[in-house]
Amino acid sequence: MSLQLILFILFGTISAISSVLMITRTNALISALFLILNFAGLSGLYLTLNAQFIAVTQVIVYAGAIMVLFLFVIMLLKPEHEKYFSHQPKLKIFAFFIAFIVFIQLVFMIFVSHPSQGNNANVAASVKAGTIEEIGKQLYTNYVLPFEAAGYLLLAATIGAIVLAKKKFE
């Protein structure tokens, strides 16, 4: 049993279990904390895939910025429990049934199509692809237009968030 497999099992179990716990908790605050745990597990998985830059960005941007925003809004609003909301058990059973069927289909398709066959996994190329040097080079040469567009998108989102949160709309 190689170290990569052990780490995959460890982080994969953390991610899978915390994602299930996230959608089953009634308290939104505890859900958000489980989502942060899920992101931490994902960050570990990215490290097992030699994607150092994405692993660090996952922690900084998702766990550090986006989830803090979520926690901030949850604490700002009244933490009401969902059991007082209307709930339809039939819809719940239907949703889990649909998700289960699609998951079975997905597993079947993945195993039938054999994505790892004919894939000569080259560790050196994989390590090189994940470094911040390679990603930065690509970002400022081939992908400079999407990069600028992402900057404008963030500006628009900032202005939109301020406008929406500032005043009441009728």
Partner: protein
């Protein structure tokens, strides 16, 4: 690279479908929103997996842009939830149906 690519893809698919089930079953607007983030992250896991196994960094650049869009989406979405809560004093998405015909 000695573990099969299928393991990562199945984990990614599992997390995506947990997110789908969360969107369909939960009635709290913030938890529905967090389930959407979970789905985005499972797609990111697939992209990084393929990028790493192919030795090509394009998938990781896509993940970078997905993270940008997710940050913008979270900011605007939470502002909408805040404005909604101010008007209706609820987070229940069954009560917020003014766009439903």
């Amino acid at each position: 690279m000695n573990i099969p690519i299928e393991y990562y893809l199945i984990l990614s698919g599992f997390m995506f479908l947990v997110g789908v089930a969360g969107v369909l079953t939960r009635r709290n607007a913030i938890i529905v929103f967090m389930s959407i983030e979970l789905m985005l992250n499972s797609a990111n896991l697939s992209l990084v997996t393929f990028s790493s196994y192919m030795g090509n960094s394009t998938g990781q650049l896509f993940v970078f842009f997905v993270m940008t869009v997710a940050a913008a989406e979270a900011a605007v979405g939470l502002a909408i939830i805040l404005a909604m809560f101010r008007n209706k004093l609820t987070l229940n998405i069954d009560d917020i149906n003014i766009l439903k015909w």
